[in-house]
Symmetry: C2
């Protein structure tokens, strides 16, 4: 279905994410971001918008929520690391977080 | 707004939850449960139903989701431990998990 991100793709698609609040997870080929919202309704609303895209693209985040905070980790279990599906979903989540 | 669960309340309202898949969190006066669903849509559907009640009751879970698994921790930060709002929300979540 997909392949691990190539070195070239890491430069072109991963780096912009790392400059936008995403960070590599220690010890895993995965990326992580913490989103903060105004309140629970905004936080869960964001999760709901993301959930629909995640299901549509059949690529699901590992995520947690405590009140207005949402923590997200993305990786592709089938390739045991980051694939283009992660960078695509990360970009979508960043857009959805903006409204 | 609420008080820490009394010893009596722990017998009457907490024990039934501990017999229904909830467990005390080590080192915290909090309860935890892992819910497993058929797939992501069922898991996130459950979270959505819970989110509406959590907001309505102004009492929110700490929770995480990975595909079809939802992990929930409940505690009342304002009383630094379990209150009746946790046992009430736990019972509601168990009902919502059943459909």
């Amino acid at each position: 279905m997909s392949e691990k991100l190539s070195d070239t793709a890491r430069k072109t698609t991963l780096e912009p994410l790392l400059e936008n609040g995403w960070a590599m997870v220690e010890g895993r080929d995965a990326i992580h971001k913490t989103y903060e919202f105004e309140n629970f309704v905004e936080a869960f609303g964001f999760m709901t918008r993301c959930a629909i895209w995640a299901e549509k693209w059949d690529h699901h985040p590992e995520w947690s929520n405590v009140y207005k905070t949402v923590e997200v980790t993305l990786t592709s279990h089938d390739v045991d690391g980051l694939s283009s599906r992660d960078t695509k979903l990360a970009r979508k989540m960043d857009k959805l977080a903006d409204g």
